[in-house]
Structure formats: structure tokens, C-alpha cells
């Protein structure tokens, strides 16, 4: 038992040295007792105040003024944004730093009870530059706590930026990170880093291998097109393989490197795969999925009942594409199941504003988890004025779609459901052709929505459907016999601003029907220079299925999942009117020939209170 001499102004901790009951009471105890009682009531009052403060809803604390910023920035905003409007755009439960620019998610992993997320981060500005690795941890993939920067560009081999990379957990418990460094001469190299202290569960300090880089661009590869090393997987010979994306003659390629110790790498003569005309492959990801269970698979798993997903972020299109195929560990090659839907030609990971996605195997729960970066679609000047840019999606579980056999399913991790507050249920609401129904749910800016639609009497009307030459998402105002129908999100009462998320059933010229899942941002905001287009893609709706959607609405981001995650669209929305209490939710049916009925369950979502880790020490 010791007194703490450095804290003499806290009499409570300086209680008598010998606290045994046999000691006769000293008169000095009475003031201590009074102090204890006072302290207790102070604690109670403070806790009460803290409770009230923490529970107040997010309302703008600044008055409704234009933001204070450089006049040259303010003159070029895409709208007369006020502080209140900008403040509303911040998300409540999606990961984003407190301020400044973020892009690709990096090195996600689970270690000693914590999920780790690293991310491309500019600590100095709300536009890309001076790229470091930001760092955050969470126990549940939802409630994140910011940690100090993990790596900054302080060596010649990453002076131009600590770019994207991946983590590998070794069987002996070590963690290795491989990342792209942009050197002081703008050459892209691959570097090794590892935790300074594996007994620190927060993995705060990182060490860069002194003899970096471990891989330099090979002959025949453009040194500015060689980046984003993947998580390693073990081959049959017990050595490790990684992929680095690049480009040759307009073909996107995945280069293979082999290592036994992560410091010495050997370039493999062949490529894992290449696809003509797809351009530079950034953020390559390569992972196994089980075809006969919903469990995730550790990255090295091969064998029967396993297929491999190969994914690339196409630099030319700024879209993430993937394909499912078979990996041959002996020849180190991968072949797509459907060559017509090869990487870059077929399925997209997400049909919205989405890029640089990366998965990891969560060994805690046995899931394959997917992260994706969501950029802003407002202007750089808007971002500089509001002081931040970009969000990450809610992490998604990836599984193989057994029913179609030809795509993956993505679904928000179930931990997001811990944010659900109260819910409202609507059963069998009739939405007549050409109408909208306002859903009375109170606030409509932080929601988890599950909805299923049924078309009434569609069979006879199928024949009436006009065939379309090009099957793609068009605006929700393109009315056809069978749709579109869906939800109007972040809509104001007068529908002067609205974001339709919907199904559109199209008939091709050969008579077959395709369902498209779409998000129409064209009328989402009155701000003229915000980038607003129609996003979406096809979604298989099987015979025994209704049309189902799940939406996570979180201020300026909407994540929309159709048919259990067969097709996903992430949208960035910046309304000028449909914000705070003015934002509403409607059902709509723009079909000319059918009514739809909808059943919904809608939850209000709590904030995730993402904040700095309480690191201060006594």
C-alpha cells in the first residue's frame, strides 16, 4: 500500500497508511467522510450531466452560417452550403476520420480481441496527398476508436506516400504487412512492415523493415503501374504467394511473387491471370469461398467445394469488378467459370460510388469480410470547406450464392444490428400504379430498412412489356408496364429532392426478362455541381422469390442490397432541402400497368459514437 506523493491535492487517496479496523479513529476521518459524501454527489451530478449530453440528438451546434474558409474555396462551392447542411452530411455509424481525406482501406485484420482497420489518410487536408496509414480498432466492426497514425511517409522508399497494402497473419502468430511505397523518385515498390510489439493488443507502433523495398518493379513493367500487394496464401510447397496488380499492353494483370520469409521474394514467370482491354488493375484481391457452406475460408484454403474470387479495381473506370473461378495451386493460375464474364467484363462488387475494396478472413467468427471505400461525389471545394472527404462502407460478409452458383452475396455484418433502436412495421401496403406513399416513421436519416415487394397480377401483363434494346438502369421517371417500383429515400415532402432506389424489370428483344436494381441520383439534390447519375446493375430474382431490398440510410450515404445481397449499390447523396427533419421516406410505384404491395420493417439507427481511443495514462 503506498500513498501517491505526486497527487497531494487529492486528499481522498491520502487516507491513513494503516487502514485496519483496529486502529482508533482519528478525528481527521470526519472531514474525509464529508469529502466522500461530497465526492459521491459530485460524481452523481457529473454522471447525470454526461448522460444528458451524450444522449442529445445530433443537431447542428453552429448557427446556420456559411462555413468559414478561404474565400477562393467558398466562391467555388457547388451550392450555398451552410454549416448546418455540411454537418448533416457527416455519417452517424459509418467509419470516417474526424476530419480530412481518406481513401483505400488497408491491412484489415483481427488480433487479440480487436478488429483493426488501417486506411489511406491525409492528415493535412481534405483532398488526397501526403498519404499515411490511419489506424482504428473496434471490438465489433461497428464501434471504432481512433488510434495514432500507424505509418507516415518518412523513408525514401515511401516518401511519396505510404500507399495501399494488406496484412497476413502467420501460423506462428506474427503479423506481416506488405504495402506499396511511392519512392522519392516516384517509383512504386513493395515494402514490409510489422508490429513493434506483438504483445500490444492495439498494435499501435509499427516497424518498417530496414532493408525495404522487398520487391521492385520488374523489367517490362511500368514503375508507376505496380502496386497494392495482396494478403499472402500458402502454396502446396509450404511457401507463400502474393499478387501485385499491373498492366501490359492495355491488359490488366496480376503478377505473382513467392516467398518463404517475406523479405526475399521471387517473381514467378507466369501470371495468375490477365484480361485484355481492362487497363491497370489496382487493389487486386484474391480469396477462396466455400460453395457448400456459408462459412468464410482462410486465405490459403484450396480443395473440393472451394472456388476462388479474383477481384480488381479498374483504374480506367474507377469501378471494382470480380469473377468467380477455379484456382490451380500447382500451376498458380486461375480460370474464370464464365470467360465472357471475366474480371472487368462482368460482375461488379458494388454498382455505386465504390472502389478499392479489400477482404480479410476474420478468424474470430470464421467470416470473410469485405471493406470498400466510398468517395465523395460533391466537389473538392465542398470537401475543403467542410473539412473532410470519404467514408467506408459498413463491413460486409461475403458468401457464395448457392442458388445462382454464379455470384457472391454481400450482406452487412450482423453487428450493425446492435445499433437498431425502435422499429416500425408495415404490412401489405398497396402502392397503386403511378403513386407514392409516405411512410410515417419520424426521422428518416439513420435507418435500417427491410422491404419486400410483390407485383399484383404480373403474369398476364408480361406480354405487354415493351422490349428494350439496351438493358441498363435509367432514371426512375422512365415508366414501363411493370415498374420501376421501390423506395424514395432522403426525399422532402414536396419531392423537390428525392433518391429513388428501385427495381426495373426490362424485357430484352429476345423476350427474356431481366430485373435491374437501380439508384437514381439525378434528382437527389438541387446542388448543380454534385455528381449525380443513375447507378445499378442486373439482379437475379428466382422463381420462388419476392423482390427484396435492404437499405442502410446514414445521412449522405445509402447502402442498398437487393435479393439478399446479390446486387449492391452504394450512393452518396447531398440534399439541400431533404435533411434533418425534412427528410422523408416514401414507397413508390411508377409502373403504368400494375399495383405493388410492400411489407417493410424499418429501424431507427443509433450513432456508433466513433471517437478517439481512451489512451491517456494515469
Amino acid at each position: 500500500m503506498q500513498n501517491s506523493p505526486s497527487h497531494t491535492n487529492a486528499p481522498y487517496t491520502l487516507l491513513p497508511e494503516d487502514p485496519s479496523p483496529a486502529r482508533p479513529p482519528a478525528s481527521s476521518r470526519r472531514p474525509v467522510k464529508v469529502f466522500a459524501a461530497t465526492a459521491a454527489s459530485v460524481v452523481f451530478l457529473t454522471s447525470l450531466v454526461m448522460l444528458i449530453v451524450n444522449q442529445s440528438p445530433e443537431t447542428p451546434t453552429e448557427s446556420d452560417h456559411p462555413p468559414r474558409s478561404d474565400p477562393s474555396v467558398r466562391d467555388r462551392l457547388s451550392y450555398n452550403w451552410t454549416n448546418a447542411m455540411f454537418a448533416w452530411q457527416r455519417t452517424a455509424f459509418h467509419f470516417q476520420p474526424e476530419k480530412n481525406w481518406m481513401n483505400d482501406p488497408d491491412g484489415p485484420l483481427y488480433y487479440m480481441g480487436w478488429y483493426h482497420l488501417f486506411y489511406q489518410y491525409n492528415p493535412d487536408s481534405a483532398v488526397w496527398g501526403n498519404i499515411t496509414w490511419g489506424h482504428a480498432v473496434s471490438k465489433d466492426l461497428i464501434h471504432w476508436l481512433y488510434l495514432p497514425l500507424a505509418m507516415v511517409p518518412d523513408r525514401w522508399f515511401d516518401a511519396g506516400g505510404v500507399w495501399t497494402g494488406s496484412a497476413t497473419l502467420l501460423p506462428d502468430g506474427r503479423i506481416v504487412i506488405l504495402y506499396t511505397g511511392d519512392t522519392d523518385e516516384s517509383i512504386q515498390v513493395q515494402n514490409l512492415a510489422y508490429p513493434a510489439n506483438l504483445s500490444d493488443p492495439l498494435l499501435i507502433e509499427w516497424v518498417k523493415y530496414p532493408d525495404n523495398p522487398v520487391i521492385v518493379p520488374p523489367a517490362g513493367i511500368n514503375p508507376e503501374e505496380f502496386r497494392d500487394p495482396t494478403t499472402a496464401w500458402m502454396g502446396p510447397d509450404g511457401t507463400w504467394r502474393i499478387l501485385v496488380g499491373s498492366k501490359v499492353d492495355g491488359s490488366g494483370i496480376a503478377l505473382i511473387y513467392q516467398t518463404s520469409n517475406f523479405t526475399a521474394f521471387e517473381a514467378q514467370p507466369g501470371l495468375l491471370h490477365a484480361v485484355n482491354g481492362t487497363g491497370m488493375w489496382e487493389c487486386v484481391d484474391f480469396y477462396p469461398v466455400s460453395t457448400n457452406s456459408s462459412n468464410g475460408l482462410e486465405t490459403s484454403v484450396v480443395g473440393p467445394g472451394v472456388k476462388h474470387v479474383l477481384k480488381a479495381s479498374l483504374d480506367d473506370l474507377k469501378k471494382d469488378y470480380y469473377a468467380i473461378g477455379t484456382y490451380d495451386p500447382v500451376s498458380d493460375t486461375w480460370t474464370p467459370d464464365d470467360p465472357e464474364a471475366d474480371v472487368g467484363m462482368g460482375l461488379q462488387v458494388d454498382y455505386g460510388r465504390y472502389y478499392a475494396s479489400k477482404t480479410f478472413f476474420d478468424q474470430n467468427t470464421g467470416r470473410r469480410i469485405l471493406w470498400g471505400w466510398i468517395n465523395e461525389t460533391d466537389t473538392d471545394y465542398d470537401d475543403l470547406a467542410k473539412g473532410w472527404a470519404s467514408v467506408q462502407t459498413i463491413p460486409r460478409v461475403v458468401t457464395f450464392d448457392n442458388k445462382t452458383g454464379s455470384n457472391i452475396l454481400e450482406w452487412p455484418v450482423e453487428e450493425v444490428e446492435s445499433l437498431r433502436l425502435n422499429s416500425t412495421e408495415f404490412d401489405d401496403i398497396l402502392v397503386e400504379a403511378g403513386s407514392a406513399v409516405l411512410l410515417d416513421i419520424g426521422m428518416a436519416t439513420q435507418l435500417d430498412i427491410s422491404v419486400e415487394f410483390e407485383i399484383e397480377g404480373s403474369d398476364a401483363l408480361e406480354a405487354l412489356e415493351e422490349p428494350e434494346a439496351i438493358i441498363e438502369c435509367a432514371t426512375a421517371q422512365n415508366r414501363t408496364t411493370l415498374g420501376p417500383f421501390g423506395l424514395l429515400v432522403l426525399a422532402d415532402k414536396s419531392l423537390s429532392e428525392l433518391t429513388p432506389i428501385y427495381f426495373h424489370i426490362a424485357k430484352s428483344t429476345n423476350g427474356s426478362l431481366t430485373t435491374l436494381f437501380c439508384a437514381d441520383e439525378t434528382r437527389s439534390s438541387k446542388a448543380l455541381e454534385v455528381f449525380k447519375k443513375v447507378y445499378g446493375g442486373p439482379v437475379a430474382v428466382l422463381d420462388d422469390e419476392k423482390f427484396t431490398m435492404r437499405l442502410l440510410v446514414d445521412h449522405s450515404i445509402i447502402e442498398s442490397f437487393a435479393q439478399g445481397g446479390r446486387t449492391v449499390i452504394t450512393s452518396r447523396i447531398y440534399p439541400t432541402e431533404a435533411i434533418y427533419g425534412a427528410a422523408k421516406l416514401f414507397l413508390f410505384n411508377n409502373a403504368t400497368g400494375v399495383n405493388v404491395t410492400a411489407s417493410l420493417e424499418i429501424w431507427q439507427m443509433n450513432s456508433a459514437f466513433i471517437r478517439p481511443f481512451p489512451l491517456e495514462e494515469m
Partner: protein
Amino acid sequence: MKALVCFLLLLLLLATLPSPTRSFEFPAREMADLIDQTCRLTPFYDLCISSLRSDPESGAADVRGLARIMAGSVLATASRTLDRIQELLGQAPDPETERPLAYCAELYIPVVKYTLPQAIEALGKGQLGFAVYGLSDAGKEAEECEKNLSGQGGSPVTEGNELVRNLVDVAVAIIEILQRSF
């Protein structure tokens, strides 16, 4: 003379009587030691007292030491609760009983394996915020386990869940004493 002798004998008698102890003179609370003072500032006084006093090192501990002992109690209770859950799972219950129990095990395993040991270690290093976060998380997982079980009326694990939550509340309150002191 006789009166004087009697008086002196009386005085002698009185002098040999055991004098009333100080605790007789003053109210019992004046005897309060650090454990008592500390437990008063927690939401479960009796639980706090019994938990701390059952540890032989608590008598000589300062507030930080008491916090560590209490955090140790949380870990011990969580471990016992997890053992109970796994015992029940081992009895091959029907699927309706099994599912929430398995979910509870999933919640408790990282708590026992990582969260609470890290909170205890953080306390030892003076990382009070880290310790509070971990202990609070353990309490939340116990609450989540209980929510999931309670559909079945009187779960045998309920006692453990409630004890964990109450011990967490006590431990966090003790750490908050430390946090206020600095």
C-alpha cells in the same frame, strides 16, 4: 473511614472494569476503512464489500489495487459463467436451447480470453480509459447473452450474467474514483 474504603473499593472496581471501546463511544461508520469508503461510491455496496474482502490482499490495497481485485472478480465470474455455458452445451440440448447458449459462448469466449485480461493489464499500467472500455464491453456482452436467453424463462446462466454486469458496474465505479483523482 468505612465509607472511604468502600468508595476506594468502588473506584478500584470501576478501574478494573473493561473500559468501553471507542466503537461504543462513536458510531460504527467512523471505523470505515478504504474498502468501505470505496464501496460506498459504487452502485452495489454489499457486492463490492463481499467481493473485495474475500480477497486477502484487499486489506493492504490502495484504490488502484482494489480496482484490480474487482476486475479480477469480473474475470473469475465471467470464466465461471462461460464454463457453465459450455457444460450445458455439452449436455446436448435441443436446438431451441442450444442456439442461444452457443451464441452466449461466442460472446463470452473473447471476453474471457482477451477483453478482461487486457483490461486488468491496462489497469496495472495506469491505462484507465482502456480498462473502463474493456470492462464495459464485458458487461455489454453479458447483457447481450441474457437478452438472447431470456426468451426461455429462467436461464441457468442468468445468475452469472447478472453478477458479471453488477461486478462490472462496481469495477468501473472504482476506476472512476481513480480517474477523478487526477
